[in-house]
């Protein structure tokens, strides 16, 4: 089947989904949905349909990004628009199906939104506060289409960008990407077009393209979601890039911990081969290109280009000094363009809709949009995509809905373990490459972890540092040994044995590590400590001088006490204590034996609001 014919059947397929003759049910089954129980929901859907004797089609879709209220189930009933339902359980979905499909009650209370205009008491999906200010370019199809269905992707304009690219000269394609202002979404923000140009200019052959899907930042899941939800958006981008550079082979380097994404990619690649969108003489253009998947072993540093390349070549994943850059001597010593998953997905969008359209979003130096995985102490966690330049405040409080339980915002950590913590007074900062860097953090691949007043800032820095200590490749001294020294020092501080000199040691050594580490991992490793010392020096000082952890996270610095005059003697704390540290007779005030107490905080959590008798106090002063 040629592409034109394929597009015609794609159109039919898409119509059949959205204007069906029988109910279409789409279940959000990316890994996030699965983790929230989408598998059980799916089984329940199938059982219910069977029980009710309803003939319907059940599909797996990707992730819409509203991960906080998964599993999501979309229902398209003949004659009705698509409605998304959130927080499904097997029971809920069972009654929903019966209510909606049999009794024609669309259950507005369970609905997240309706696709299109508000209707029947259900608000429009795009008016949802998590979605309304998003601009979804890379994520254009995520949660919309069935990721395993090439026809769906085609129906949404898929591979038109490739067709357009193949009709242009490679140089013109690069010019288009340059004009779009697209910069690398992996973190460093190198202009994509410029990178390709270098690679194209190199006379050595063969050339390679690599898709860096070695996502490893704590709390980051943009690449995984995107690959699980819309693999073709990435593959089309890779094809465009390969054509522009003159690459004959591409590698998707993805961590083995992403089995679903790998499966979806494999299936998508097989589809492309079937339809001459991959292999020899693609679409009759004379362009030959093949793509393989290489699985990484979950090593954080392999997200760094030179380490990733070494890993593909079967060597130990360790970065090397650049130059030479990958665009001159990358994979097998040949010119190689390494781009991140999201970058590739943006490339296909740029080629579909044009450079001007893409450049119309964002700020002058940071064009387009950026995806973020919004996590931590925020009401609406999930995967979002916003125009560059949106303020952190808009993201966290607008899209994310602010901090749950009315707690106080403390900081937001961006840029992964090499990024920094940005405090409340900088919430007005626009997210773009330069502004975040100026604030001591950086864009990174898009992790955004929100901290509230219950997060100890020292502990947070310590956590990110311990990640680096474990993930350092061990090649260069400052990163291998220096981060360990920093970690041990911070650990001392969180245990109350820090000294005033420790801060200077951290600042000095931190500066040395930044100055002398080989790769970005080491150069960024001290950032979480340095930014937190910069913005939250008082909390450090409290730990060191007063032995107080105001967030109560540092166990060595807190104690739990039962306020005698408040305790009603209900005994619930005693029963919840895992270390038998609480004693007391029923009806009488209980006491905590500080020697036995493991400081788990259960007692504080279980003590009824009526009494509020358990208090967290500074250790040694309780």
């Amino acid at each position: 089947m040629n592409l034109e014919a394929l597009r015609r059947s794609a159109e039919q397929e898409w119509q059949a989904l959205n204007h069906p003759s029988r109910p279409q049910i789409l279940i959000g089954q990316a890994t996030c949905g699965e983790a929230a129980g989408a598998g059980a929901v799916r089984r329940s859907v199938l059982d219910t349909l069977a029980r009710l004797g309803i003939a319907a089609d059940v599909h797996s879709t990707g992730c819409l990004g509203t991960c906080y209220c998964e599993p999501l189930v979309d229902i398209i009933k003949p004659g009705a628009p698509r409605i998304s339902y959130h927080s499904m359980t097997p029971e809920k979905v069972s009654s929903l199906l019966e209510d909606y499909l049999v009794k024609d009650n669309p259950c507005p209370d369970l609905a997240l939104g309706v696709w299109g205009e508000a209707r029947g008491g259900i608000p429009a999906l795009l008016d949802h506060s998590m979605l309304k200010s998003q601009v979804r370019i890379a994520l254009r199809n995520a949660g919309v289409i069935v990721p395993d269905n090439l026809l769906h992707y085609l129906a949404r304009g898929g591979y038109k960008g490739l067709e357009r690219a193949l009709s242009m000269s490679p140089d013109a394609v690069i010019a288009e990407i340059e004009k779009s202002g697209l910069r690398g979404r992996g973190g460093a923000g190198f202009p994509t077009g410029a990178k390709w140009k270098l690679c194209r200019k190199s006379r050595s052959v063969p050339k390679y393209v690599i898709c860096n899907a070695d996502e490893g930042d704590p709390g980051a899941f943009m690449d995984r979601d995107l690959l699980e939800s819309d693999p073709h958006a990435v593959l089309e981008g890779i094809l465009v890039g390969a054509f522009a550079i003159g690459a004959s082979h591409g590698v998707i380097y993805i961590r083995a911990e992403y089995p679903l994404a790998i499966r979806r990619l494999e299936s998508a690649i097989a589809d492309l081969h079937r339809h001459n969108l991959l292999g020899d003489n693609i679409l009759g253009s004379g362009f030959d290109f093949n793509l393989s998947i290489v699985m990484g072993a979950g090593v954080f540093v392999c997200g760094e280009g030179t380490a990733l390349t070494a890993s593909i070549m079967g060597r130990r994943g360790m970065p090397r000094t650049r130059p030479p850059f990958s665009s001159e001597a990358g994979l097998w010593g040949k010119p190689t363009s390494i781009n991140n998953v999201e970058t590739w997905a943006c490339v296909s969008a740029v080629m579909l809709n044009g450079a001007e359209w893409f450049a119309s979003y964002g700020t002058e130096k940071s064009r387009g949009t950026k995806t973020f995985s919004l996590a931590g102490k925020v009401r609406r966690t999930g995967l979002i995509e916003v125009p560059m330049g949106m303020s952190l405040e808009q993201i966290i409080f607008g899209i994310g809905g602010g901090i749950p339980y009315d707690k106080k915002f403390k900081a937001v950590q961006t840029g992964g373990p090499a990024g920094g913590c940005i405090p409340a007074e900088k919430l007005h900062l626009p997210v773009d490459y330069e502004a975040l860097k100026k604030a001591g953090s950086f864009m990174g691949s898009g992790g955004m972890i929100v901290l509230d007043e219950d997060n100890c800032i020292v502990e947070t820095a310590r956590y990110f540092l311990s990640f680096i200590v474990d993930e350092s490749c061990g090649k260069c001294v400052p990163c291998r040994l220096g981060t360990r020294q920093l970690l041990d020092t911070l650990t001392c501080i969180t245990r109350g044995s820090g000294t005033a000199a420790d801060i200077d040691k951290v600042l000095g050594l931190g500066r040395s590590i930044i100055a002398s580490s080989l790769c970005g991992l080491g150069q960024g490793a001290p950032q979480p400590c340095l930014t937190t010392i910069d913005y939250f020096r008082d909390e450090y000082d409290e730990h060191i001088c007063d032995h107080i952890c105001r967030a109560g996270e540092c166990r060595a610095l807190v104690a739990y006490a039962i306020l005698k005059d408040r305790c009603g003697g209900c005994g619930i704390c005693r029963r919840s204590c895992p270390s038998d540290a609480i004693s007391g007779e029923r009806g009488r005030a209980h006491v905590i034996d500080v020697d036995k107490c493991s400081k788990c905080g259960n007692c504080l959590e279980v003590c009824s609001v009526k009494f509020s008798a358990v208090a967290r106090v500074p250790a040694g002063k309780g």
Partner: protein, 345 residues
Amino acid sequence: MADIVKIVIDGREIEACAGATVLEAALSAGIYIPNLCHHPDLEPYGGCRLCIVEIAGMRGLPTACTTRVTDGMTVKTYGGELDRVRRDTLQLIMANHPSDCLSCAKNQRCELQKVTAYLGVTERTMARTMPEQEVDDSNPFFTLDRNYCILCGRCTRTCAEIVGVGAIELMGRGDQTRVGVFGDKTLMESDCRSCGECMARCPVGALRPKVNVVPAYEVLTTCPYCAVGCSIYLGMRDGRLVSARGNKDGGANRGMLCVKGRFGATEFVQHPDRLTTPLIRGDNGQQPADWDSVLDLVAARFKSYAPDEVAVVPSSRTTNEDVYVAQKLARAALRTNNIDNCARL
């Protein structure tokens, strides 16, 4: 002929070969920049971070060992931030390195000592962070003592780049990184060919010979085993052959050796099994005899045969001079062409 470029290091203009690294250029001009992971035989690595320099027009503190010279480059190797960062790096290494220098196999030949002395560091400012590490004593010729290892990677790179065996590699991550072999076994259970090239390049006492005698003097000679003809220094001490090392200027081996050359060329020389007296076979088998009577006997017997009744087989193991005299004996004294060696065996 390689192109020559001019660069300025610490105010001194020097000439360097185009394509050389800043560190190579500096060292060959006699300007020392502290370094540990660099080795002239190995590809640039940039692991120890001691050779950081400032280069006009370049950001940050590039390592001299990984930066290539360009004409007109201005390099600063010391001062201010550079010294402070370099000392921090050295302190990080020292924190986990044993301090028993006097009893260390590498004492006075240790490159870490050299760097420490150069930077004038006399005190440790950082706490030890590493636990005691396992010592691999399995190889009969050398020891891998990870407690002394500074993870410069010279050994693992040697195994991959020089020898092409890849028996040892860095394993683990972060500060758990260590030199090891496949499956975390011992060297003897690995692909290691025991050439000792790694040991020869270890800057510290982590890979050290089991017979660790500093020779009183060395004599340059040629390895007696295969026909590669490795040029080799044999070390003497107290009347014994105690060491062997490759000669960097050796035309065939350029410093490299195999297990037999490095560890097997001396022990047999003074072995008690050596024949040290002529023997003559009598009724009771072979009996010791004095040189004079033996030589007379041989000469007399040889003279008694016609040229086509005798044959001489000189050795392909002995020297040219030995062989020449043997063939001269055959042709000029025995007057026979019945002479051959095992060249075709």
